[in-house]
Symmetry: C2
Subunit: 393 residues, 2 copies
Amino acid sequence: MFSEKVVNNLSKSSWIRAMFEEGAKLAQKYGAENVYDFSLGNPYAEPPEEVIESLKKHVLSDEKGLHRYMNNAGYQEVRERIAKSLQNESGIELSAANIVMTVGAAGGLNVTLKALLNPEDEVIVFAPYFVEYNFYADNHGGKTVVLPPDTSTFEPDLSALEERITKKTKVLIINTPNNPTGVIYTEKTLKEIAKIIERKEKEYDTTIFVISDQPYSEIRYDEVKLPSILSIFNNAIVVNSFSKSLGLAGERIGYIAASSRIKNIDVLMNALSFCNRTLGFVNAPGLFQKVVGDALTAKVDVEAYKKRRDFLYENLTRIGFECVKPQGAFYLFPKALIDDDVEFVKRAMKYNLLLVPGSGFGCPGYFRISYCVKFDRIKNSIPAFEKLAKEFK
Amino acid sequence: MFSEKVVNNLSKSSWIRAMFEEGAKLAQKYGAENVYDFSLGNPYAEPPEEVIESLKKHVLSDEKGLHRYMNNAGYQEVRERIAKSLQNESGIELSAANIVMTVGAAGGLNVTLKALLNPEDEVIVFAPYFVEYNFYADNHGGKTVVLPPDTSTFEPDLSALEERITKKTKVLIINTPNNPTGVIYTEKTLKEIAKIIERKEKEYDTTIFVISDQPYSEIRYDEVKLPSILSIFNNAIVVNSFSKSLGLAGERIGYIAASSRIKNIDVLMNALSFCNRTLGFVNAPGLFQKVVGDALTAKVDVEAYKKRRDFLYENLTRIGFECVKPQGAFYLFPKALIDDDVEFVKRAMKYNLLLVPGSGFGCPGYFRISYCVKFDRIKNSIPAFEKLAKEFK
């Protein structure tokens, strides 16, 4: 009766959302304060003052036409500000013409893949990765090729990349700071990737686009810098969102920035606007375009996230968990205490701990903790982690 | 390099948007007040007071978590209010579980088609129609079947419908009040359609869904009622938006309401939520969900639109244009003064009149006037229409 593919996918659907819903049930049963829900990347943090002030300014003004359609790509002045900021960061010349405002990064990724993919084109991702990429690629006729994780560092496996690029490879998606590991890929690694891609583009006479999905770009610790994707890759497309950096996840606001170094960039920008329109986004929400334009240099309290990372990392390693120390995002990705991560996560639920199995990120044997929650939840969860660890000793 | 299909579609792309952009150029050249841009359905009207008050209330409150993710289907309390209102209107029992909040009607249509269509499934539409439906169906593997217009009344052609339903027909899209004609399909016509569909469902042992795309449902004149789609059709799915009724086109807020009479409705609702998420919408913009929930009974000043309709209709018929008098929406769809509507629209541009050819709606020989503009523009345009008509006498 309905789409068979969609109905089949319902059962394979998001672990993260499944845990989120399980959490709601447990919270009802035991009280929210007794459930340690670490399942969803739904920041507890309120938007920074600049966002709130901008919102008030626009809503209280008698600005006419604030809620009308604008160009499908978004407000010119907001796109100009974003272009200027990316240009300063990357040294690559960019203007408003290189930017399309989008319904978050998820919207931006769908629009970009639709504009790029021909049937059976391959989209390479490094595990562990955000598995929704599979659906996004499939929506537009693409096939996801998942490269196995290097669990020693969670950096991309370069030899795997070199081996798996084919004539059909159209896109490489990178996600740094990474969800679920919190790892920031080094400049050296990214430059190696660029070399491999350039070599393969020559070998096959193809163009391979690097899509950088970087909603966590502003959530970095220990003064680690984010290497500039736009300067490292020739065919770079940055997809970003203000969900995490400005605490606006529910408002669905982000952008696509495509490098001026891409050949026929005008055609690509038209294609992106067209896809933004015809996939049904039409344009990114208008009021919040203006707000992020005003608050472009603001960000949520990263120190507060760092405090959470440090506390959790110290306690979990003390308890005996193995874990790469994250440099960004708000996730920890420790090794499960048994091989079967799904079973491990189920056993954790006994202690009201809601975790997401690594299998949900193409990386079995690990689990994700999303620590964008109130500090008390983290502090109070430590005895539960201790009991859980004891069970496997 | 890019998606071939998308690049090919760029050239066939929206007439409406093309005219909109042409209008911007002419406005720069001659001054906005001297260009009679009737191309886009971008309401001039500011949202009603209830919307502005609700926006202020939420933005000035210290409501925590206002901008966070919520359930992919949207806020429970907003969905409940919409369900209750539709239940009152239709007599069909509905709850929050029947509603998914969406990124406008364009988003809602893409989500619905994705959830329903299997490869090569057919989507029937009555010309004249909003040609973006072609892209929406194609996005999800469907094929649009366009039934020719009955230009005497612009009501659906029932015998054409009866003939063209096949085993592959999955969806009929109806759009009433209609864009571009402003016609409201009568209850009698809709009930005839329902009979034909039920007969064909039995004949082929299939299920055919009626999607009612009804963003103009609240813009009606002369006390004409809108027949209730949910009560007339068994497999009814209403897709609506607040773009026109609350003047919120740029904010991208609407909903899907699927009838509780649909078999396996639970599976369908899960599929709709899943598609909302994986197509990259994730959820409808959060703040505006709350706002439309608060302002559900409000609407823009319909009398102001009626004044425009009456003035334009009277003047154009006086000048000699043939036109069905619209009962809703904010469009007129007169007959062009030559067969070639594209040529006619080009000639109109000489008088700074921006119109959209009927070919852009699958109905050559006609043209669309979008009168959701300031009254002065309409008033001042009449001499231009007179000169244009003179040219063809």
